[in-house]
């Protein structure tokens, strides 16, 4: 399956007349985008129980066929979805069939058994432009449909994705082929990414994750735009949405294409603007929760027979109001806030982002080079440059007028990252592929204002090998990686500038196998190890964390954190049900966690609890499951749940800050209107979030909030315009019962309820600039 991107097969068939039962069917399987043949694609002729495979040029022939209806089937193997194609034998007409497949290059992660994680409903991949399935405005919210995902929130505008209870430094976000490098260690630092640019959002675990670094302990989130459309017409889409809670609006547009005279060149331009006013809980406005963000990106590329090259630039800017009531002076304020039924400062509606607030900017430039040495060997080099600026403003302006007049942020962090990644993919045979690669980055951090983390310079380099072996029923994937990391810190000890240095290095590995059993079941098991160097805040933070009302102290002698994990899962799919179940077990050595210390520390602002970053051995285990039952042809019932257990093996206490268990019940109905391209859907969803009862003693100011139930509905209409594009209009209601609730994973649970009911209208309008003459 070489060089095939998310594509549609174009199957051209020709029927040759011969004797009775001597008909034959020949055709070719081609990549929709490049029109290159797809070798070794597997097809079966269901009606007569035969199988065939395309040759190295993508051609196939099935001989000795009798007249009548022939059912051709794309075999539910690692390469494609089980789609049936009916052919009337004999026929002279040209048969063109689009089959949605999700095959991606090896180096873009096919290593995990494809079927296992790519089921549209139960899978780990989401199409962002499918408005009927994707909810919310932020990356974290949009990923929620994937089993095992949850979010860590700070208020309603800062949302971080959580995979199986792990977040921040324990997951890697890959934006357009490059590791996103921001201040991701902070739990109130959301990923600086506009999900609208992405065609797909995907969560990967196992060997293929090794390509992106050693530290994808929880997994890798891939945010990938669609490939540049070489040789295609100019087209794009406009996405608009408006929502009632906060009276917000979003508009996003993307144009991409290629020029007729220069089919080897392609471009893509994208922009998004979003604004939201003060949000409200069921009973009150949540003061200062307005936010806005803007993003822009552009890419141009060249694709020749051997060489592909493209450049990409994106810029993301965000202004976030931080709920005023969370900015507390000391523990007394915090206790008072917690006892209060609702925040003391009543809010009002405004679009203005007032203090306290965050201003964030992220820029990414990237050069991507691909060279095809032969049909079976290709190399990719990605050079990236990222600049991340984070400014946090306190509620309190400075006492000194001349300082106050400057309106400086309380602190500012600048982070520059230069990275180089190179890898070579080799297709040894139709069954065996491997990727070997190296990666390196250098990072510089400089702060201004209040000290929170010191300036540092970091170098990290690694080399890896991953491979996949596929046979008819088995798939085996494996990978090995070694990394070295050096961190040099520049800080004052008293009045002396010191620059301590820490080196870390370790091996990461993963091995997994999956097996297809019969036509309906795939089972899979995976084992691996990953590690991460301690992050800068875990080593050197020393001071008051405003908003958390805690003094956080790092440990400069912190060791690396290592995890050993085992996962097992099964997938069942038939016309009666679809089931996806997985269990996982992670054992951490030297898991880094904040631990409460006694006594509280006295300061001029009062007493504060003290937390130290400490290491201990921890176990995180859990279960994710989705069961989908087509009750009627027009009605589907889905139940999705996840369970997490996390324990500190040394203190014999549960780990702090693990998402509560949740259960989602969903009913969905919808059909296509007869003889039209129009279809509709309606969906009702009940989300039950249980109370987190497994919490450590004395590590929190208050009991975790009670469990809650939310009802969401959505209805939508869509018109298919081409194989990949549809016009869509969706109305969505979330928290329809206007339930007052607080979530354990929201850091503002001490201060305020989560937002109440919200209606959203959203639409996507695809367009093309020239009338399409080619098949899309």
């Amino acid at each position: 399956m070489k060089y095939v991107f998310t594509c549609a097969f174009v199957l051209v068939s020709m029927i040759n007349l011969a004797q009775n039962c001597g008909f034959s069917l020949t055709g070719v399987v081609r990549d929709e985008h490049t029109k290159n043949p797809v070798p070794f694609a597997k097809l079966s002729v269901e009606s007569i129980g035969r199988q065939t495979q395309t040759d190295s040029l993508g051609n196939f022939t099935i001989g000795n066929l009798c007249p009548g209806l022939l059912k051709l089937r794309c075999i539910p193997h690692f390469g494609c979805e089980p789609v049936d194609i009916d052919v009337q034998i004999p026929t002279e007409s040209l048969l063109v069939i689009d089959v949605e497949t999700h095959i991606i290059d090896l180096d873009e992660n096919v290593i995990i058994a494809y079927q296992f994680r790519r089921e549209t409903q139960a899978g780990m991949k989401l199409s962002v432009n499918d408005l009927s399935k994707v909810k919310g405005a932020t990356l974290g919210e949009q990923l929620m449909r994937i089993p095992g995902m949850s979010t860590l929130n700070t208020g309603s505008s800062i949302v971080k994705p959580v995979i199986n209870g792990m977040h921040s430094n324990r997951i890697v976000i890959v934006n357009n082929g490059i590791r996103q490098e921001g201040q991701q260690w902070g739990s109130e630092h959301a990923p600086e990414i506009d999900p609208n640019l992405a065609g797909n959002l995907e969560v990967i675990q196992g060997a293929s994750g090794l390509q992106y670094g050693p530290d994808a302990i929880g997994g890798v989130i891939l945010v990938s735009p669609d490939p540049l459309p070489y040789g295609k017409n100019i087209n794009g889409w406009l996405k608009l949405s408006g929502n009632s809670n906060g009276w917000g609006g979003m508009s996003s547009a993307l144009v991409s294409g290629s020029f007729k005279r220069l089919p080897k060149l392609a471009f893509r331009v994208h922009g998004t603007g979003r604004i939201n006013g003060t949000q409200s809980a069921p009973d009150y406005f949540i003061k200062n929760t307005a936010s806005n963000d803007y993003s822009f990106s552009g890419a141009v590329g060249y694709k020749g027979t051997r060489l592909e090259a493209d450049v990409f630039y994106s810029r993301y800017t965000s202004n976030l109001g931080i709920f005023t009531g969370s900015h507390i002076g000391n523990l007394t304020d915090l206790n008072a806030a917690f006892l209060a039924e609702q925040p003391k400062d009543s809010g009002y509606f405004t679009y203005a982002v007032e203090k306290p607030k965050q201003f964030i900017q992220h820029q990414l430039s990237k050069l991507n080079l691909v060279y095809h040495w032969t049909e079976k060997v290709k190399s990719v080099v990605i050079v990236g440059y990222q600049y991340n600026l984070r400014q946090e403003y306190d509620l309190h302006k400075a006492y000194n007028d001349s300082i106050a007049a400057l309106d400086l942020p309380a602190f500012e962090l600048n982070l520059w990252t230069t990275s180089v990644d190179a890898k070579t993919t080799v297709l040894h045979s139709e069954k065996l592929k491997s990727v070997v690669g190296v990666s390196f980055f250098q990072q510089d951090n400089a702060y201004a204002g209040r000290f929170f983390i010191p300036n540092f310079r970091k170098w990290q380099g690694g080399a890896y090998y991953t491979g996949v072996y596929e046979s008819e029923n088995w798939q085996l994937d494996y990978g090995l990686r070694y990394d070295l990391s050096r961190l040099k810190v520049y800080k004052y000890e008293g009045n002396v500038l010191t620059s301590p240095e820490r080196d870390f290095g370790n091996l990461s590995a993963s091995i997994g196998a999956s097996r297809v059993i019969g036509h309906h079941v795939i089972v899979r098991a995976n084992a691996g190890t990953a590690w991460r160097p301690p992050s800068i805040n875990e080593l050197y933070s020393d001071g008051l964390h405003h908003g958390a009302a805690a003094i956080e102290v790092g440990d400069p002698l912190m060791k690396k954190e290592t995890v050993y994990n085992v996962q097992a899962g099964m997938q069942y799919k038939s016309r009666f049900a679809k089931l996806d179940l997985s269990v996982f077990w992670n054992r951490f050595d030297d898991y880094i966690n904040l631990q409460p210390q006694l006594p509280a520390q006295l300061t001029i602002v009062g007493a504060f609890p003290v937390f130290h970053y400490e290491q201990s051995d921890v176990r995180i285990a859990g279960l994710n499951g989705v069961l989908e039952i087509p009750v009627q042809k027009w009605l589907t019932y889905t139940i999705q749940g996840n369970l997490l257990i996390a324990d500190d093996l040394e203190t014999k206490q549960p780990v702090y800050g693990i998402p509560s268990n949740r259960l989602i019940n969903r009913l969905r109905t919808g059909t296509t209107f007869k003889n039209t391209a129009w279809s509709w859907f309606a969906e009702a969803e009940g989300i039950t979030v249980f109370e987190q009862k497994r919490v450590p003693e004395n590590a929190d100011y208050a009991e975790p909030p009670k469990g809650y139930f939310l009802l969401n509905v959505s209805v939508g209409l869509s018109k298919k315009i081409s194989a990949t594009q549809s016009l869509q209009l969706v109305l969505e209601g979330s928290n329809l019962l206007n339930t007052s609730y607080r979530d354990y994973m929201n850091r503002f649970r001490y201060f305020t309820d989560d937002p109440g009911r919200n209606w959203t209208v959203k639409m996507i309008v695809p367009f093309s600039i020239k009338k399409s003459t080619k098949n899309n």
Partner: protein
């Protein structure tokens, strides 16, 4: 063709990269700690309104701010019984040289600030604020009236109440909260 493409892409990348503001030199040259504005020192001075008893001063000093080293001075307030004291508060930033007087800044923004005094019930002490921002009291100046000999705690709080000051201690963010051991002898 190929070479030119690669070249032009590289040039484009360099141009994009060059647009960034570059402060990388700052990395190896971090700001000196505690450059920011800090209240390191809280001072309250008591003078006998009748001019009989000696003047008393109590201090809290934490030169490196919250976290880091523990406070260096945290005095006990010792007042004579049956005396009326005029108290005045001084706030300093002694982490810079010369020390910065932040009392003036609070005075200038007195409509945003309020000091609150709450002695524990065991103390025979009555405290009233004696200054005003025009509408509400401020508390930089106050009157402390002692009676019989007793001991207890007095909590002194500075609330920052921009636009929400209503004369009560409730609203706003706490800038200072100190609980002084208090002896009336």
């Amino acid at each position: 063709m190929k070479i030119y493409s690669v070249l032009s892409f590289s040039v484009a990348l360099v141009i994009l990269g060059a647009c960034k503001k570059d402060k990388k030199d700052d990395v190896t040259n971090p700001p000196v700690v505690n450059e920011e504005e800090l209240i390191t020192t809280f001072q309250i001075t008591f003078t006998d309104a009748a001019g009989v008893q000696p003047t008393v001063t109590a201090q809290f000093v934490d030169l490196d701010g919250a976290g880091g080293n523990a406070p260096t001075i945290f005095d006990t307030i010792r007042l004579q019984a049956n005396t009326t004291y005029n108290a005045s508060i001084t706030l300093l930033n002694e982490s810079v040289n010369p020390a910065e007087d932040l009392t003036v800044e609070v005075q200038e923004e007195d409509q945003d600030h309020l000091f609150c005094f709450s002695p524990t019930g065991t103390l025979n002490l009555a405290i009233t604020r004696t200054d005003s921002d025009g509408t509400y009291e401020v508390g930089l100046l106050s009157s402390w009236v002692t009676q019989a000999v007793s001991t207890g705690e007095t909590t002194i709080t500075l609330k920052h109440q921009p636009g929400i000051k209503n004369g009560q201690c409730d609203p706003g963010e706490t800038d200072i909260e100190l609980t002084f051991h208090t002896i009336i002898e």
